[in-house]
Amino acid sequence: MKRPRRVASLVKGGRGVSCQKTIVVNRPVQEVFSFWRHLENLPKFMKNVQSVSSNGGNITHWIVKIDSTTVEWDAETIEARANEVLSWQSLPAAEVDSAGSIWFRPAPGNRGTVVKVALKYAPVGGKATVKIAKLFGKDANAIMEDDLLRFKSLIETGEIPTTEGQPHGKR
């Protein structure tokens, strides 16, 4: 595995928030890579990402909902080495300057795949700034951890555990 490229360098200047986490999932590296290769899959486990749609090429359109505010931007997949690494970066005109990289490698002893994720967001200005700062500020790591745990459950079992909608007595 090559030395991970520093994701911070993908976002201009030192602004914004970056977070990074590694998780092992008990599925083969090919399957895990191909799941992430289709960024359209991300809303299945990323709570704030409403949709990611692809133009069929390298450009994806992201819609992220924070409380009641929706922020949209276009991103370009800038690196996709099968079963190794995937990187994307928002296009220059985007309301949110964002970038992400995912590295994949087989875990030793047939234990699945080690997935390392690094994300960076920096609001450029306008209405999104405050919301983005709030969402991707102090909560950024927590949100990413939750999202990755949901990703693990989804790819290992086909579903994300939930109790939303179960009965209870009056609270």
């Binding site: 699945g112 693990k152 459950s153 290992e156 079992t157 555990p161 939930t162 109790t163 009965p167 209870h168």
Partner: protein, 395 residues
């Protein structure tokens, strides 16, 4: 439907709540025919387990009839009679695939909260703290069973509910506690606590080949039940337990010691009184009197097995003894799925009839009375089973 809900310390009520629904593709809905109150429910009842919410439906020992299945459940169909393990497991993760079902990575919706408390995610449990996911429990008329393709075991028609229900928890829990002692021919096993788990630990130790089992408790009828299971009884009366065990084993000490009491040990020694004060003042969550005694009593190189529930940081554990005597400590929530088939087989072979432990049978409406009796050990209560669909008798 009707369900028993938690509202606070010594406050549980039977409420009318919505029926459970299928929420995920691997879910099933079970109509509960028999449910039970577990000793670990008493820790909730006593308000000692953090992160319960008012209105939570309790209960993690239940069985019944499948009434509905999600699209991905292929092994069960409506009408099947099943026992549901209290640990919810996915069957697909590193831990499930190695038989460590209660350590499942994927069934706890409060995964990050669990990770913050224990460092790593532990499996979801029914009717327990929200650290374990806060799944609605089975002291109710119906329950949603997630990952139903992995957990529930089908029960043949010839086996009545009362023989099968305890496969959900206390029989496997007692069995794993005994198995963890790695019993060899000639071994003596000491069991602290003759509540339901202790009773099953005693009988399981014999099933696994123990020569002798010594049961320790302070409740006469529970010791009586232990004796019926073949154990020698020792009345728990403070520091003398160690001397008694040493004498009974010719100075050697028991080969395996099982703490089937956990965080709410009564205890009569000075350290026990101090623990009680600390717990009452919320300075400590646990009263590890029994654990200390087990560590002291166990023979050199022996095993201390802990099925009893502890929740937090234990005070004044003589860890020096563990090192000096080269003790092995084994514990954990029960990997229930590992034991379902072999223990059902033992029931079918008449090697054991788990219904021996039942002392009280109640309707769901009377479950709050069951909690009270179980807590106070009133009316010689050892184990309460509930019949959620039985008609309430007019008083």
């Amino acid at each position: 439907m009707k369900a028993l809900c938690w509202y606070g310390k010594h406050d549980v009520r039977v409420e009318k709540v919505p029926d459970p629904k299928i929420l995920n593709p691997h879910d099933a809905i079970v109509k509960i025919t028999t449910s039970a109150i577990c000793g670990s429910d008493l820790h909730l009842y006593d308000g000692l387990i953090p992160r319960l919410e008012k209105g939570d439906i309790l209960g993690h020992e239940f069985m019944g009839e499948v009434v509905e299945t999600g699209p991905e459940v292929k092994n069960l169909k409506a009408g099947d009679r099943v026992v549901v393990p209290f640990t919810i497991s996915c069957g697909q993760c590193f831990f499930c695939q190695r038989g460590m079902w209660s350590l499942c990575d994927n069934t706890n919706p409060s995964a990050r909260e669990s990770e913050m408390v224990t460092g790593y995610v532990c499996s979801g449990l029914y009717g327990y703290s929200h650290v374990y996911g806060g799944y609605a429990g089975g002291q109710a008329q119906y329950a949603r069973v997630p990952f139903a393709n992995v957990g529930p075991i089908k029960i043949p028609d010839g086996i009545p509910d009362e023989k099968a229900i305890f496969l959900s928890d206390i029989f496997p829990t007692g069995y794993m506690a005994a198995e963890n002692c790695d019993i060899k021919p000639g071994d003596t096993i000491a069991v602290w606590g003759c509540g339901p788990v202790g009773q099953f630990a005693i009988r399981s130790a014999f099933l696994l080949g123990a020569e002798r089992v010594i049961a320790i408790d302070d409740v006469p009828e529970r010791l009586e039940m232990a004796k019926e299971g073949g154990a020698d009884a020792v009345a728990a009366d403070g520091d003398e337990v160690f001397e008694t065990l040493k004498e009974m084993t010719g100075g050697m000490g028991p080969d395996g010691c099982i703490d089937a009491v956990g965080m709410e040990a009564h205890g009569f020694t000075l350290d026990a009184r101090l623990d009680r004060f600390k717990q009452a003042m919320k300075l400590s969550m646990d009263r590890p009197t029994v654990l200390r005694q087990a560590l002291r009593s166990c023979r050199k190189g022996g095993t201390v097995s802990v099925p009893g529930v502890y929740a937090g940081f234990l005070d004044k554990i003589p860890f020096g003894l563990v090192v000096a005597k080269a003790l092995t400590i084994r514990t954990g929530q029960t990997h229930v799925q590992r034991y379902l088939k072999p223990l059902l087989q033992k029931i079918q072979n008449n090697e054991i009839d788990p219904s021996f432990v039942i002392t009280h049978r109640l309707t769901l409406e009377n479950a709050p009375l069951g909690y009270k009796a179980f807590l106070k050990k009133a009316d010689k209560c050892v184990k309460v089973v509930l019949k959620p669909h039985a008609l309430q008798q007019s008083e």
